[in-house]
């Protein structure tokens, strides 16, 4: 398999994840499971919200594919994790069980993707992301030739992705034929720009989180530490059933957050 220079970093990272780092593959599968499930939900929302009946069925089939992929990744994560050390298993399991995983990654908000983007840009989004996904999954399948089950799973998913690429491209071409060439080009550009922007946001968020962690760690050592000496001097309050403290009238209490 020949590799383009631009894809070298992806190849290097993928090789590291899938071939070298112990237990990372199971965790990665668990993360993929969430991502695919999230895509499935985006597609279900698009099924509900699109005004175009002819696209509704395609979105729905696409949603079923994504949700099936989520199940495949989940099962594969479980299988790979069970072959790992307890620590490796715990990491993958923790990701699998993290219902808020997507939210913690800044993915999915209270507005559906379809509503945020509109029909044309949503189609461009599907096309760009599925194309990228198919390339990645092809790469993973080639890297995992010696693990037949995982490679077969990636190959199956990549097949589905090709259908998703084909229908979204066909829809974009339909727009182009209808004279919206400029709009389609802009939509694809905006999606690619947004992808880069979100990558930047993720990077800065991670950086911000690391900085915040550092500052909070310092605060913990320098401020909480001395306070804890005082707290230790006071005994743990007596447990058991305690009389309820007197309360202000309800209307007064309702105003405050404390």
């Amino acid at each position: 398999m020949s590799v383009r220079a631009a894809d070298l970093p992806l190849h290097a990272v993928s090789w590291l994840v899938w071939k070298i780092l112990p237990g990372r593959a199971a965790t990665k599968m668990a993360e993929f499971s969430h991502t695919e499930a999230g895509s499935g939900l985006d597609m279900l929302a698009a099924t509900e919200e699109t005004p175009r009946p002819e696209l509704r069925a395609r979105y729905f089939r696409h949603a079923l594919d994504e949700l099936r992929h989520a199940r495949l990744f989940r099962e594969r994560a479980g299988a790979l994790a069970s072959a790992r050390s307890p620590q490796g298993r715990s990491r993958a399991q923790a990701v699998l069980e993290d219902g808020g995983y997507l939210a913690s990654q800044g993915i999915r908000g209270s507005e559906s993707l379809f509503r945020q983007l509109g029909e044309l840009e949503f189609l461009a989004f599907v096309w760009v992301h599925e194309k990228r996904g198919a390339e990645q999954f092809d790469l993973y399948a080639s890297l995992l030739r010696d693990d037949a089950s995982t490679a077969a799973m990636f190959a199956e998913i990549a097949r589905d992705e090709r259908f998703h690429i084909a229908y979204s491209r066909a829809e974009l071409d339909r727009y182009t034929k209808a004279g919206a060439t400029h709009d389609v080009r802009w939509a694809v550009l905006r999606v690619r720009g947004r992808r880069a922007w979100q990558g930047w946001l993720r990077l800065t968020r991670d950086l911000g989180n690391a900085m915040a962690g550092l500052w909070l760690g310092l605060l913990y050592l320098l401020v909480i530490g001395p306070f804890s000496l005082v707290a230790r001097a006071t005994e743990r309050p007596v447990g058991g059933i305690l009389a309820a403290p007197p309360r202000a009238p309800a209307a007064e209490r309702a105003r405050g957050m404390a």
């Binding site: 307890p86 399991q93 808020g100 760690g217 909480i224 059933i241 309800a250 309702a254």
Partner: protein, 577 residues
């Protein structure tokens, strides 16, 4: 005309509830819209739907009530972490970050997301919201109220007397002594997810005997007066963000069960886990009975309202009725944190806005308080999706479904408004014939893809429950919300009878759900048994379906034989893309 919106969230099971002149007109968990199980965010989608359902704008609301006091909760977290220095370092970093960037700004978030003026945002407190959800939704004009959960601001257990004058707090037990958190610690020890797998522990307990009761009592120490405290050497929920029990618990009881490992009660290891689950369950029941005794001695009342996550423990609810001093027990369908939204709204309506309760209060009459879809909308969707379907005369739906069920088919049942609370009560259900012994394994393995040991509940037509189940007196109101376990009197319902010969029954009154009642009627006419196996319409790890699109997506990924979607019948077939 006055509208009050109650909200709960930012921990787990966020929800929104709308009152119109004091009556609940819309109630929904955020997870039904976001599709994130136990959604821990702000219930923006649920709240917007509530407003849309009532046809009002945020400006029309009299007030919005958040279910707890954020500052007091943050205070508890900080004080606890200071006291637990230095082992609370990770938890401090994580929780302080979450609070400073998100949870402390809940008022601003509500104002921004919903467009409500800040002066209309009010705050209840956590256990008061729970207590109000149970009492004001009950048919009792006077009752003792017990709220037991993990933790609110500081309280983990609160005891009230309630009557025409409102809720009068009597006493409380404070963090870190917590029945709910100890139960969750054992949930984690037994390999299940905290705040999700507690009911699996309850299901596992049926396979065991309380052989480890003495050991569990060393963790949760019950006192003669009904009080309890926790030996903190065994738990870590007060200082750890990741774990809830310590190695000391593993030394006391043996190695914990690994998450996802198969559970086989016929092996010695499986039996040990089942015995531990049974022991935790037994000690929890004893703790609740003790608290009920304290409350009865102080109030002398006949009725008990129970709320908080522990109130969803339907096995313990039975023990409260059998061994406790109260004659009647009431729990509202969403007794966990989601119910805090309802309680906050009801508390504000009665106690802040000063609206008196009716002299003869009427209990919440139906769990169908969520979103509904018309047959027109469903028909158009099915046509657009090119899903093969059959339109049925609405009058004939129960007859056709009953015939399918009698033939041994497993059905998806999507009818009317979705349920309030975590249980499927005949609006978004998977239904099957409970007389067939193979149904349990079939549905667990091929339809819901979940653990083989988990039982299914029976729904029975009101009036017929005594024929099949030994319902304890005073538990009638609980059985309507599937919050009571009762021994099964017959061998004719093997698919809904658990390993210990009990079932978590659901009694269906006509007024609560006419269509489902009619289905039970028709199935009863055909088979002689007006009882159906009823489990939630979802797959493992997913929220119960809310919309027709979600129902179809779940249907096509499961081994269900047919789906009754409003007045349409859908069979498994390829979806054309």
């Amino acid at each position: 005309m006055s509208y009050v919106l109650g909200l709960s969230g930012l921990y787990h099971d966020s929800a929104a509830v709308l009152l119109h002149d004091g009556k609940v007109v819309a109630a929904a968990g955020e997870e039904r819209f976001s599709r994130v199980k136990h959604d821990a965010g702000l219930p923006v989608l649920a709240a917007r739907w509530c407003l849309q359902h009532a046809g009002i704008a945020a400006g029309d609301l009299t007030c919005v009530v958040w279910y707890e006091k954020p500052l007091r909760k943050f205070e508890r977290i900080l004080v606890t972490q200071v006291a637990q220095f230095p082992r609370s370092a990770r938890a401090f970093r994580r929780s302080t970050f979450n609070w400073l960037t998100d949870k402390l700004w809940v008022k601003s978030s509500i104002v921004t997301e919903l467009g409500v003026p800040p002066e209309k945002v009010l705050f209840s407190d956590h256990h008061q919201s729970h207590a109000a959800s149970a009492f004001y939704a009950s048919p009792f004009s006077e009752a003792a109220v017990l709220t037991v959960d993990g933790v609110g601001e500081w309280a983990t257990t609160s005891l009230y007397r309630a009557g025409p004058g409102g809720l009068e707090p009597l006493a409380e037990i404070l963090f870190p002594d917590s029945i709910g958190l100890v139960y969750s610690a054992f949930t984690a020890y037994l390999g299940f997810q905290v705040n999700d797998g507690e009911y699996k522990v309850m299901g596992m307990a049926a396979y065991g005997q309380p052989r480890y009761e003495a050991e569990v009592r060393r963790v949760l120490r019950l006192q003669a007066d009904g009080a309890y405290d926790v030996d903190l050497d065994y738990v870590s929920y007060h200082w750890s963000a990741e774990d809830s029990f310590t190695p000391a618990l593993a030394r006391l009881l043996g190695p914990p069960r690994f998450p996802g490992a198969p559970f086989d009660p016929t092996t010695p290891e499986g039996q040990r886990y089942a015995d531990i689950a049974a022991s935790v369950q037994k000690v929890t029941e004893d703790a609740l009975v003790g608290l009920a005794g304290w409350l009865h001695a102080r109030t002398g009342l006949e009725n008990l309202c129970l709320a908080g996550g522990v109130a969803l423990n339907s096995v313990a609810n039975r023990q409260l009725l059998l061994r406790g001093p109260f004659a009647r027990l009431y729990v509202q369908p969403a007794a966990g944190d989601a119910g805090g939204a309802m309680g906050a709204a009801l508390w504000a309506w009665h106690e802040v806005l000063g609206n008196p309760r009716a002299a003869e209060p009427v209990a919440l009459s139906t769990p169908g308080l969520g979103q509904a879809w018309s047959d027109d909308a469903i028909g158009a969707l099915l046509a657009d999706l090119r899903v093969k379907h059959e339109a049925i005369d609405p009058e004939q739906v129960p007859e056709r479904a009953a015939a399918d069920l009698a033939e041994g088919k497993v059905l998806g049942w999507f009818q009317g408004r979705f349920e309030w609370g975590p249980r499927a009560l005949g609006h978004r259900s998977i239904l099957a014939d409970p007389r067939r012994a193979d149904m349990t394994d079939r549905i667990n393995a091929k339809i819901k893809f979940r653990e083989a040991f988990r039982p299914f509940a029976p729904s029975v037509r009101a009036g017929d429950e005594a024929r099949y189940f030994d319902v304890p007196p005073g538990g009638e109101l609980l059985a309507e919300w599937m919050l009571l376990v009762a021994p099964v009197r017959t061998a004719e319902l093997p698919a809904t009878t658990h390993a210990d010969g009990t079932a978590r029954l659901h009694v269906v009154r006509f007024e609560a759900n006419p269509l489902f009642h009619s289905l039970l009627d028709t199935f009863g006419d055909a088979t002689g048994h007006p009882v159906l196996l009823n489990t939630s319409f979802n797959l493992k790890g997913e929220p119960i379906v809310a919309s027709p699109v979600q129902a179809l997506a779940t249907f096509f990924r499961s081994g269900l034989d047919a789906l009754y979607l409003g007045s349409f019948r859908v069979e498994q077939s390829q979806v054309e893309g």
